[in-house]
Symmetry: C2
Subunit: 332 residues, 2 copies
């Protein structure tokens, strides 16, 4: 730990000790790390006899409901000013809400994140792009502040770690991530129960959509691709949530270096999800080209239906981009 | 480490130091732990300037070919007697070969395993049913014998650990498994590369079979089930190897407590794979009822085609067994 970090933690400790009233934020459409970190900190603050409140516009996705161990103070709107606001897993404060500016809702804003693009929007910024998950950062913070890690907090931290590393399969998995997971399991966190909750709770509708996308899977050069239509959702009584994770099944195709999945976003727009399996192909850059965004390995964008002639043609266009000289997909 | 273990390791060390000629065995149809442990020990012995030979009737499955870093001494038959034989991951010596008795092929037989049913068939038996994988035991052995763990050995050990814990998702994942994984990653083992090799090298034919089984997935009470026919294999140019892993995709069905997959074994026989998602349903016991075997969570059996009237009827029979009083599936 260097001096700056040590100073930041001292400030954070003072903020926690000297205040009672906290509001916790994370990005919309929260994933496992967002839910894991916001709940971990909520439980920690309650254990310290503080009064935390969670702002969440969406409800907690059904995958992560098992982490809710008690009735929580959740607000869907922020009607008053809070002493301290803490934001988890958001590179930018605008990812929290479209209707209000969170800086105006709090006296002190703390920003805890691991996105390399984080723009340090808080009064206190604890940002570590090397951390596999925000919960990994929280683990370090809690230990360094010498607070106890309760079983509830441990399972939230482990959940963020599991989901953001894809069960320790992605390249962000460090020996530290595994060491932390080991410590949490030693404390009693049930890794197989958590994994079952995350990975073995697919609805029938979601598995049917998986089947459909697999049956349509094609390979064009080194691009594996498939699609889901509006009527597939209707026929299988499925919702958008059911599409989550399908692209990661498609990426298991041996011959593919990148995979692409097209699916309906709304009446006018189609969503295109991208995954890269090769270090030198950066799908984040590719998505940027189409007005989207993401990381080197996982990214996406939206496009108007009328801009896509046929999926096959669009895949050819993507192939051209990947191989064009003007656009080198080399990751530095 | 207790006295017995310490004595065993002293004997093993003497056997390694005092001999030159080793033959290594594992069970037929080797999985990741079988391949990981046999190759880890092969590399270790070579690094100690010994002459190891591997007996393997099958070839190394394509999933694990990445672990082969050099030309190996592999024999498909054992034509002479070896000084030392070491068996990995086999509860019973009969799982090695149908044509010869391995005890007759060696002077000293060492048995290293983690199956609780291991019948201690070796002259030296190092059996730890608490270990998540045999490679986990090897890690402990190598460290306690104070040999170096090279990068090649580390990646073999990590492969066994990953495959036998399903990427640290199964209930055999202990804090120790995660701690060992952490140490191996610290030594340079590339966990994301290994995971990509294992989980992202599916053939198109395998993904098509997945799609077919998902499209046929049904739920009968708490049993999720599906089937693959002989002609599905033909139509998709698929082999039996392509069926591996499909049952684990089916088990992600939220509503299922157990999942069942029927698929062709040969002209007369059908294979039935079982997975349990609930602690109190032991599919190992269920499989035993039909002349098969396996563990609490994963098991299987074969049945003559003419014994199955329809899959649906057979599923009803399984349901009756699960709910019958005479057959309580409570795991002790």
């Amino acid at each position: 730990m260097n001096k700056t970090q040590s100073k930041l933690l001292t400030s954070l400790k003072a903020i926690i000790e000297n205040n009672q009233d906290f509001i916790l934020f994370t990005h919309s459409n929260p994933d496992g790390d967002a839910i894991g970190s916001i709940l971990a900190f909520y439980y920690l603050l309650e254990e310290l006899n503080k009064t935390p409140t969670i702002y969440m516009n969406n409800s907690i996705p059904y995958f992560y409901e098992f982490l809710v161990k008690k009735e929580l103070r959740i607000v869907k709107d922020v009607n008053r000013k809070y002493k301290v606001g803490i934001v988890f897993d958001s590179g930018d404060k605008n990812r929290i809400s479209e209707t209000f500016d969170i800086k105006e809702k709090v006296e002190i804003l703390v920003n805890i994140d691991h996105h390399p693009t984080n723009n340090n929007f808080g009064d206190i910024n604890i940002v570590d792009p090397k951390a596999a998950s925000v919960t990994e950062i929280l683990y370090e913070i809690i230990r360094k502040l010498k607070y106890e890690i309760s079983l509830n907090v441990a399972e939230c931290i482990l959940t963020g770690l599991i989901t953001d590393t894809g069960s320790f399969r992605f390249s962000n998995t460090s020996y530290k991530s595994l060491k932390i997971a080991s410590d949490l399991v030693k404390k009693g966190a049930n890794i197989s129960k958590i994994s079952k909750e995350i990975y073995e709770k697919r609805r029938m509708s979601s598995l049917k959509l998986m089947g459909i996308s697999l049956s349509r899977l094609q390979l064009y050069k080194n691009i594996g691709w498939s699609f889901i239509e509006e009527e597939d959702l209707k026929n299988n009584n499925a919702s958008y949530e059911d599409i989550e994770g399908i692209i990661d099944l498609l990426r298991t195709l041996r011959e593919a270096d990148i995979v692409v999945l097209f699916y309906p976003y709304n009446k006018e727009r189609i969503k295109v999800s991208l995954r890269s399996k090769k270090d030198k192909i950066d799908v984040g850059k590719l998505a940027l080209k189409f007005g989207g965004g993401g990381h080197k390995e996982a990214a996406g964008f939206q496009i108007n239906r009328n801009e896509i002639n046929s999926y096959q043609d669009f895949i050819k266009k993507i192939d051209e981009y990947i191989n064009s000289d003007e656009w080198v997909f080399t990751y530095k």
